[in-house]
Symmetry: C2
Subunit: 445 residues, 2 copies
Amino acid sequence: MSNLAKVAKARAEDSVDTLLARRNALMGPNAPLLYESPLYLTEGRGVWLFDDKGRRYLDAYNNVPHVGHSHPAVVEAVTKQLGMLNTHSRYVSKVVLDYHEQLLSIVDLPQARGVLTCTGSESNELALRMARHITGHAGIIVTDYTYHGNTAAVAELSTAFDVNPTGLPNYIRAIRAPALPPKVQRGEGSPTEETLKAAYLKEVKDAIAYFDSHGIGVAAILLDPIFSTDGLPDVVPGFVKEAVELVHQAGGLYIADEVQPGLGRCGETWWGYQLHDAQPDIITLGKPLGNGYPVAGLIGRAEIVDRFRSEVMYFNTFGATPVACAAGSAVLQVIERENLIDNARETGSLMLRKLSELTSKHDCIGDVRGKGLFIGVELVEKGGRYEPDSKMAKRVIEGMRNEGVLISKIGKYDNVLKIRPPMPFTAEHVTQFVDSMDLVLSNLR
Amino acid sequence: MSNLAKVAKARAEDSVDTLLARRNALMGPNAPLLYESPLYLTEGRGVWLFDDKGRRYLDAYNNVPHVGHSHPAVVEAVTKQLGMLNTHSRYVSKVVLDYHEQLLSIVDLPQARGVLTCTGSESNELALRMARHITGHAGIIVTDYTYHGNTAAVAELSTAFDVNPTGLPNYIRAIRAPALPPKVQRGEGSPTEETLKAAYLKEVKDAIAYFDSHGIGVAAILLDPIFSTDGLPDVVPGFVKEAVELVHQAGGLYIADEVQPGLGRCGETWWGYQLHDAQPDIITLGKPLGNGYPVAGLIGRAEIVDRFRSEVMYFNTFGATPVACAAGSAVLQVIERENLIDNARETGSLMLRKLSELTSKHDCIGDVRGKGLFIGVELVEKGGRYEPDSKMAKRVIEGMRNEGVLISKIGKYDNVLKIRPPMPFTAEHVTQFVDSMDLVLSNLR
């Protein structure tokens, strides 16, 4: 026990270097860490993060603090409920039911049930278990640079990030994300939307045919409705609707992964799936729900959830606890009270327009696209060859960090800047962001 | 958005019945729920839970509120950190490192690393992924009435609770838990400990031989060191050590699942694995770490963790956040400050003794056993036939609930009362518990 006391002693002289050495020893040298010169953060407020020297960073990356870092309404709700009661969900709790009711009220699926979990990975896990159990099929269709979580059954879906070094098993088929070409490449001589749609749909048909001919059958198509990790492309109109119809005809389900697009981020609707004309059988939820308190889950058609529940025992210790639900409710109330969906639409449009204006000045910008407060800037090699430039993306991210702005990157070619700030991002922040980007790109010429 | 406001309206006239109707509609009729007459709980303090009528219940079941419901030190630590900063683990954070250091200081594995996750299921998932990746084998040995979590890869290990209706795949072999017979059946004429050990070890050998002959190979033996869900048996001395040696010789790892026995519950050591003379390669942690705030993880040998980390990208959004680590640290400090491990040993011994004294009065008690504040009471049919009596167990649980005491049940035959209270359980609580048990058993004669 004396070790504990020793560890708790104050370490007045902590520096990033000594902390990094401790980190390597305690968490291992390969535990993921952002930036060449990692950030030692000590405080967060709204869209701002602060390091140990008091330097502030504009956070244009983190979506978990959905309504802003350390939002007082969420802190208060969690504190109050944590001091009152926090049990698992096998007792009756009013705060738990209220949150389910609120969630279901903003998901326009008829006759749906909520099943809360603790993490987005657990939500996608559960959705796959349900789909396979209900359909009796094993096959899952995903896009080819997707990410749906860190557990075995969802990690094996992924070809992104070296999550799954063994490659895809035969019960998983990956299709290309249904991307329109970058805006500059559209127009005369390029394939029409109809041609593209037919090509992408053929991949869905081929996957279904493969599953059928191998006795696997299609259990589900699992899509992030805005294809975030694939690079946030402009999506071929009509693709999602028709792909879902094909899967439904083959006896499979449509699972919409709302971990990234959900909760109003896209600025038009509460959920990403609502951007397409196709109703999911299950939607999965994660990251932003509790503003940092772990809250996740799925909402599924009643007949699916009820049958699964009656045939398979599923219990999640940290899912649907009173504190998780108090956090979730507080987040929904803040979104409403602070008009954060409207803000995402308006601020997002401004950001999109201002970033697009940089295109004429910086020819490394190949495309600017996105929805609401989720924006991608595709970087390409100069000189019109339009080759993905992942090195440039890395340099821009480091440059932005040095200018005090946090972003990341996505896409199959690792060349799309990922801009996904907390929702209370305003016009003032856009100005700082775009000025910094302009400066960094100018310096990297 | 108007729906949200409607939902938030106060409902002054809530009763258990109206809440249950809402629950069926929102969560589905088959969402797990305890008791014939479910509890509507509104408050928790220490070892006490309170319902909406102000009636109090002695909690002798819940292990998540490890240091007591609503412990003010944990509430304060979470509140303070939540109001300061709560990010993922790819930035440097002192509170995160401090918690890792504290955890590693109480785990006596040389050269170990911590990998925090959010839930116990994710911890066991990750341990299996690591074991399979490192060994190149797929086979897992578990006990035959175990439970290690709710995700696909861990649910498929289980034959308990109808978690896994499809049965075991061929890369999972289940052995019997290495149980000594109930105390009354030991002695002359019954098999010796050596005979039993040999029989149980033969099952391990057979499992390894099966994996080897099918080209599967053994990746790990995954054991709860106190075999909680199997019914908390007295364990055959020497079994764990020799079983682990067999697995190591065959190239597999030993994973100790500390989700239930860990954090001092057994009253002698911080961890259940320390009750046996065998060092795990990986220990997995869950439920009690954050006293209700979701904290979980694994601690593994450095060479395993580092190799996995260098070859597979693993990231967990809600794992190793500053708030999770602040909660975890607060729990460790409370355990130390309030001498809760000593208390578990002393109060647990008293409970074990007093419950054993009931045996002479109530012949439905076939055995009383356990470690520290985790105690099992095996119920059997009357008249010396010593058949498991699961119906009696159910009636006792309901009877205890009506007397204001919460317990549950475990074991392959669903006939072992599960007594696993928050750690600040005292002699006074033991008296109330045993008096209630005496009364309930007398009434059920």
